[in-house]
């Protein structure tokens, strides 16, 4: 059975996509960098963070590369002044929405949001900070969730559901009131579905989900388990 091949253009280069591939998949295959935050290989894309926005010729809207499928002859631009400004603003808004305070974060130096800001040249946040009063849930014996540092990428929700199969994590609320929750919005330590596997902690791009006992700048995340686990499971089935 042959798979349909689509030919299109990214940044002036002719590229081809297999059926089901997204613009981001094809760009990665061709070593064309597109910044991402919520996307993680091994998890279904959701288009939550919007930093992978790309321009598509003759389309007025910017579209997220992680969930947009290419069409024949489509012309995609991954880097332009307009895109850089959008990505920068999105990153600044992520910072302004919660209390990240990198300098005293356990993930300082190992944080995807921090690296993103650095790569995009974010030196200041131009929108006012919201400074929400958010709690830290340290009821779990091994892990902590600090809502101050959550960017609502939903990686924890997806890895728990798609890989671990526990579906402990979910989202609750809308807009600035949106939070990740465990089970029926109860303290993590009281969750009956949580297997304490720690996958959510390691896929979390920031210092929102961390191992207990880590001091500042000590929380290094290991996400490499995910593609291995995925491949192993696919080969078994």
């Amino acid at each position: 059975m042959s798979t349909a091949i689509i030919t299109f253009i990214i940044d002036g280069r002719d590229v081809s996509a297999r059926e089901g591939q997204t613009i981001l998949d094809v760009a990665r295959e061709n070593d064309i960098p597109i910044p991402t935050l919520c996307s993680l290989q091994g998890l279904h894309p959701v288009g939550a963070c919007r930093v992978c926005l790309v321009e598509i010729k003759n389309t007025p809207k910017l579209l997220p590369a992680c969930v947009t499928r290419p069409s024949e002859g489509m012309e995609v631009i991954t880097d332009s002044e307009r895109l850089r400004q959008y990505r920068k603003t999105i990153t600044e808004m992520l910072f302004s929405e919660r209390n990240h305070v990198c300098a005293v974060c356990v993930s300082n130096g190992h944080c995807e949001l921090q690296s993103m800001a650095e790569n995009l040249g974010v030196t200041h946040v131009r929108v006012p900070y919201l400074y929400p009063r958010l709690p830290v849930d340290a009821t779990h014996a091994r892990f902590t969730v600090d809502h101050n540092r959550c960017i609502l990428c939903s990686r924890c929700v997806r890895v728990c559901d798609e890989v671990e199969g526990a579906h402990t994590w979910d989202m609750q609320g809308r807009g600035v009131d949106c939070r990740v929750i465990t089970d029926l919005k109860q303290p993590w330590g009281t969750s009956e579905s949580c297997t304490s596997c720690g996958k959510c902690v390691h896929v979390c791009p920031t210092g929102a989900l961390t191992e207990k006992g880590k001091a500042v700048a000590e929380m290094v995340k290991r996400t490499q388990f995910l593609p291995y686990l995925k491949t192993m499971r696919e080969s078994w089935s």
Binding site: A103, V104, V106, N108, P135, V136, A138, T139, T144, G189, K212, G213, K214, A215, V216, A217, E218
Partner: protein, 474 residues
């Protein structure tokens, strides 16, 4: 009619403050007040944070002595975890603490205070700074800069970062010391010691020119508080608190850090954001005490290193009993620099200093912890309470400069009475009142856990509060 003089802002100190001098009906100085005009609220906003973050959170109080906060905070966390940290970890923390003391003392002595000694209390204020010193006394300025760099480099080499290192953690330190770093530090020790001794040899005879300042710069009987080792030697990292009176008679000894609140009270005055701690048994304000280099040398029986002990013996000859003039904080600072370099080199030479066992790991085992260490400016107390999940529910920080608050107020009153006459503030008199504050090397941003720069303002006011004269320094 009584008047006020206001100095605002006070210069060459760390933080932001203002001095008001009150004149009586005869135009003579009646009283002086040291106002610390900044407020920050660290104790409040750490509430709800995991206790393991406390070293780094509280270290942000200050960019000059973050290491001191790391020490007291990590010790309070060790207490919460109820662990005894590995011996090597304690030694490494000690080395770091001493390095920070050397750099901070060098900053205070050379950069902030030496312009007064070298160029004169009455010299042109435009050039009375480290650049003025560098122009006229380049060797001494270079010595100062090199010595501060030495301390800062030890911190950077050991922790990877000069300011706000994250290397000191609850339970010990995060990484062991490498032989390479140890050797690099040890290679610089001889030069550091030479500079420290050279400076002392210059300073000891030079202070003879400052008899008037010595006799009026906070020269009065008071208590002194500092840490000592169990055998009574000079101590900066651990040990017990000891209090001596102006005769160097021990009035309280072997005080456990956890019981600090039993001995020390904190009063609040409406004119300053800085609290006024006092020794409880003697009440407020009679329980006034001083901390810092002068207090530590008055409190200890000996330094415990050869060169520093020789200097201490000479220092003791200044006065029978405790050395009382706060002017001698500068002298004490230089002796502590010598001690710091000797001691850190001794610690780095110990056989287990490269051990890789540098961290104890534990969950919180107590709901409360206290950590006490000596910051360059004096005794530093961190006290936290946590909930069963390890989140901080309450914190109390008593910072070195705070302990000295009562003595600083007393000191500027004494100096103002001596040097300030009439309705106008003579520049030299203004500088001398400020110089009293500088003796203590206060870190006001730390002590109020506050934000901002540290220029000084002095106001002269009459009884009705009318400002007669005002001097501003940026």
């Amino acid at each position: 009619m009584a008047k006020h003089i206001i100095i605002d802002p006070v210069t060459r100190i760390e933080g932001h403050s203002k001095i008001t001098i009150f004149l009586n009906d005869q135009g003579k100085v009646e009283n002086a007040q040291f106002h610390v005009t900044q407020f920050r609220g660290f104790e409040k906003f750490v509430e709800g944070r995991p206790f393991q973050e406390m070293p780094s959170l509280t270290a942000r109080t200050c960019g000059i002595c973050p290491v001191s906060h790391l020490m007291a905070a990590s010790k309070a966390c060790d207490d919460i975890m109820a662990v005894r940290i590995p011996a090597t970890a304690a030694k490494l923390r000690r080395v770091l603490n001493l390095a920070q003391m050397v750099q901070s003392h060098a900053l205070s002595f050379f950069h902030l205070s030496s312009p007064d000694f070298l160029l004169g209390m009455d010299s042109d204020p435009v050039a009375r700074n480290i650049l003025g010193v560098a122009a006229k006394f380049p060797e001494l300025a270079q010595d100062g800069i090199w010595l501060r760099k030495f301390g800062q480099q030890v911190i950077e080499r050991m922790t990877g970062k000069r300011v706000h290192p994250a290397w000191v953690v609850p339970g010990g330190v995060s990484k062991p010391l490498s032989a390479e770093v140890r050797d690099q530090i040890l290679a610089d020790v001889p030069k550091a010691l030479t500079i420290a001794r050279r400076t002392l040899e210059w300073f000891k005879p030079a202070i003879k020119k400052f008899e008037e300042e010595i006799s009026t710069f906070a020269n009065f009987p008071s208590l002194f508080l500092g840490l000592v080792t169990p055998d009574g030697s000079l101590e900066h990292y651990d040990g017990f608190m000891r209090i001596v009176d102006s005769n160097r008679k021990i009035i309280a000894d072997k005080l456990e850090s956890s019981a600090y609140a039993h001995h020390i009270g904190e009063a609040v005055e409406p004119f300053s954001y800085l609290k006024s701690p006092f020794f409880k048994p003697l009440g407020y304000p009679g329980g006034m005490y001083r901390v810092g280099p002068l207090a530590r040398l008055n409190v200890c029986d000996r330094c415990g290193t050869p060169l520093a002990d020789r200097e201490l013996a000479e220092f003791r000859k200044l006065q029978e009993g405790a050395v009382l003039s706060s002017f001698h904080y500068h002298y004490a600072r230089l002796i502590e620099i010598v001690y710091g370099i000797e001691r850190l080199s001794e610690l780095l030479g110990s056989s287990d200093i490269l051990s890789t066992q540098v961290r104890a790991v534990a969950n919180p085992n107590k709901s409360e912890g206290v950590g006490v260490s000596e910051a360059p400016r004096g005794t530093l107390i961190h006290h936290y309470r946590i909930d069963p999940d390890g989140l901080v529910t309450w914190a109390n920080l008593i910072i070195a400069t705070g302990h000295n608050n009562l003595a600083m107020n007393r000191g500027i009153t004494q100096a103002a009475k001596h040097f300030v006459t009439g309705k106008k503030i003579a520049e030299g008199a203004l500088n001398r009142v400020e110089a009293v504050i500088r003796c203590y090397d206060p870190c006001l941003s730390c002590s109020t856990h506050a934000l901002g720069q540290m220029p000084l303002q002095v106001q002269l006011r009459d009884v009705e509060g009318t400002v007669l004269d005002e001097q501003l320094r940026e």
